[in-house]
């Protein structure tokens, strides 16, 4: 990697000051994407501002009808949290299939959604549950937060502080893993909530997306059969040496049906 200045501030004000003072500064949370990028010399930040010292960003709280997960909460903490296992078991199960144990012990929910990798798992849950992203400036509905491939609604100096995820009546995440990277080739998060059914898909396209046709069908009848004839158009889906757009489109259907079945 190239040389950079490393900062470990203890308050969000200090973070804002550091980011404001250095145009080429970057925030590092768990570093599971940024550190490899630095090692490949694909990024050359002047400064790294590490959020690890800000204790208010870490932890999981029960807000009654929702869980609030601090941005610096590690995947392993979500995976093992009794609150999550009880409130949104599908989320604990999702965290368990992210990367490998080393990644889960370092990676954070805030880092994952801020990076918005097209094949990351958390965006599917945040959109699938109809969550709200809390930042240093505002609250952003999940549907408005993920805007494109590696793009979010965040400004450069705006930082995710927590994610608020409503507890669903039932939910399930089904992931078809890339055998090499273990990222999602296709991951489908299905949630049944008081407000209806949500189906969010990661891995298949450049950014997490919902499938309104499936949501409507499932609202009428929450069974795998209800969506068996819904074909996902392959236009605009990802295509690479691991999976063609056609295969991904097919897998969205399979994973969605299995997720519905998994809701029990």
């Amino acid at each position: 990697m190239y040389e950079f200045n490393y900062h470990q501030p203890t308050s969000l004000d200090e973070v804002a000051r550091l980011l404001g003072a250095n145009e080429e500064a970057k925030i590092v949370a768990g570093g599971m994407t940024l550190v490899p990028t630095l090692k490949f010399r694909l990024a050359k930040p002047s400064d790294l501002v590490d959020l690890v010292g800000i204790s208010s960003l870490r932890g999981i709280t029960d807000a009654g009808d929702a869980l609030v997960i601090g941005a610096m909460t590690r995947h392993a903490e979500v995976e093992r949290s009794p609150l999550v296992k009880q409130g949104i078991p599908a989320l604990a199960a999702l965290a368990h299939v992210i990367g490998d144990p080393a990644v889960r012990n370092r990676g954070t929910i805030g880092g994952s959604i801020s990076n918005n990798d097209p094949a990351a798992d958390y965006p599917a849950a945040v959109v699938g549950l109809g969550g709200t992203v809390q930042t240093t400036r505002r609250e952003i509905a999940a549907d408005n937060f993920f805007t494109g491939m590696f793009e979010t609604a965040l400004d450069r100096t705006e930082i995710v502080t927590a994610v608020r995820l409503p507890k669903p009546q039932a939910a399930c995440y089904m992931k078809f893993k890339n055998p090499a990277s273990r990222y999602a080739i296709v991951g489908v998060f299905v949630a049944r909530t008081g407000g209806g059914v949500r189906v969010a898909v990661t891995g298949a396209g450049p950014c997490v997306f919902r499938v309104p046709e499936m949501e409507a069908a499932l609202a009428r009848s929450f069974t795998p059969d209800a969506i068996k004839d819904i074909a996902i158009p392959q236009d605009g889906l990802n295509s690479d040496i691991h999976a063609s757009a056609e295969y991904r489109a097919h897998l969205v259907g399979v994973m969605a049906r299995r997720a519905v079945a998994g809701c029990g």
Partner: protein
Amino acid sequence: MATIGTPVRRREDFRFLTGGGTYTDDINRPGQLYAYILRSQHAHARIGGIDTAPAQRSSGVVAVYTGQDMTADGVGGLPCGWQIHSKDGSPMAEPPHPVLAVDRVRYVGDPVAVVIADTLALARDAAELVNVNYAEEPAAIDPVAALQPGAPQVNSEASGNLCYDWQLGDLAAVESAFAKATRIVRLDLANNRLVPNAMEPRAAIGEFNRATGEYTLYTTSQNPHVIRLLMGAFVLHIPEARLRVVAPDVGGGFGSKIYHYPEEAIVTWAAGKVHRPVKWTAERSESFISDAHGRDHVTHVELALDAQGKFLALKVSTVANLGAYLSTFAPAIPTYLYGTLLAGTYTTPAIYCETKAVFTNTVPIDAYRGAGRPEATFVLERIVDLAADEIGMDPAELRRRNFIPKDAYPYQTPVALQYDSGDYAATLELALKAADYQGFESRRREAMGRGKLRGIGIATYIEACGIAPSAVVGSLGARAGLYESAEVRVHPTGSVSVLTGTHSHGQGHETTFSQLVADTFGIPIDNVEIVHGDTDKIPYGMGTYGSRSIAVGGTAIVKAMDKVIAKGRKIAAHLLEAAEADVEFKDGKFTVAGTDRSRTLGEVALTAYVPHNYPIDELEPGLDETAFYDPKNFTFPSGAYIAEVEIDLETGQVAVVNFTASDDFGRIINPLIVAGQVHGGLAQGIGQALLEGCVYDKASGQLLTGSYNDYAMPRADDLPTFALSTNTTLCTHNPLGVKGCGEAGAIGAPAAITNALVDALKPLGVRHLDMPATSEKLWRTIQQHRAPIAAE
């Protein structure tokens, strides 16, 4: 207490598991500098010029060298250790292989320049300032296309990109058998290209002592003496006596650390230039584009059978990719380690094999775990399974009808090898029973109820290991002997150091060899030390590959111990005032036969080193013996593997649900280590069958699978619990009766898995699948074959 045959835990593992190993990158020499190697980003380009001046001025930089600098200094090219002759008798094309590219780069990863600086980061910074003027040229990537007229030329010395057009066997006999055949089965298949991926990346440290003129190279090698010979004699022209090569703890090799690589010569030469030690350690991405790759064959095979299903003849035609340059042993792999194995476990009386070896603008290809034998096994076991399907016979039964019977040894195959022992039918029966082959159809039906296509596949294999008799390999083109050496030093108080020419890089030699010595000498294992990997310590030896260590290196140890015992008997006879002929050695004691008068090995050793009462007129003092052992034949491990797989009908995803491996490794010294070797081999074999596929962009020559994000290595959750068993027949030509076990799993597993997949898909009419059988490939296969059925 006898330890041979018992699962002694690996003595070296405490060191490895507690971080106490010493790998090359753990070594740091005083004043050490760091080398960063600038590599070609183009598959094929002419080098118009290299401007190193800005890099030389960069902070912390001590030197920047290019291929021209090395050439000007008289540095030679990397040598090839094996020469193959074509059908017409002409020698293979052997283009020069410069250490650093001089006027042309020939693959993505080809080393172009080296930057040497105070730190690695500074070297990398400076490397970005090296300006190489490339003129890109079209690249030959696909091996079959590279042989077509008009294909881009990789090396002007190899016309049409052909290295050699080799053949083995009696074509006339094969043609005549085909003419009489009841049935001929034909198949086109490919053996996928693999990236080795040893856990420890390659590394090298060169050091030069100005006071003595001596060079030292620390390197991640499976064979330090071979590196010393090749680099010293051919590349850097340093006499052996002034060149020490140390291969300390090495974290996996699988063949990829046999070869003499450019980086070894670069750091050694550069250390002599800058008069400071120079260290280079590969990054993982660098390993993908600089470690020799494996496999990459395209093959057409035909098998002729009679009405009873007896194999009459086999005809194989293969195009083998060699990459851009000849790696050290590359020419031998698709020829004498491949064609010679095509008899397999069968009595096929006539076999013909031809191999066209082709240069392409890709990383050089050489031996990788199994090396030629997995390719041969895949060809043979796929065509046998296909034949069984086409004649409507159970694949186990077809194999039984064609096995070499157990009373037929020594068995001369039509492809040069003479097998010494084996019992293939019994090994297969053992595997069939363990796998509950008879009960499979009910499992198939049960799986279908769960939306899974379940299949079962058999593969038998034979391998030629213990590489090998020097005279034989010499006649086949090897430019080296292939014996092994050992020195057994019994110290004055009876502890023992064994200096072996083999090299352990994961095989557990420190345990297995110690067991041999402990049992032979009747001493505790803890009193035995195994020394390897340093040319200043060990006698000249050829190293470890081809599952040769126990069969060749172990036998050398036995021979050296025999000499120790012979001398010890003379000393003991003197001490016991008995005739030498009356002294026998057993359980660590020299005893006068029929009496209780004895001397321990320790007492005899002490006498040898403190020779106060000693037959000094007849015997030299000391108890330190060396033996070199050149085997009479290869060894021939064999086995029968049965894989059971399930394919998810909706997604194409495969699960290996059962895997049964029955092997004949000859005598087993340590069953725990043998099981570990089989497990590792199976993981790699299953990886090849299902996951691992090295993909180049056919136009640009860029490696598309250059990281673990894109190259799928097998992991524990990709694998079932293996059911292992052994059926032992002893090797007849070495004193231990051992055959070797290091490569078996990687040889037998790909065919077993593929046969199981094809069996699962048989209801859809599928007759073949190429590796790796990825989920999408299987899903598409299912879609394509379902459509016509649905239409009917």
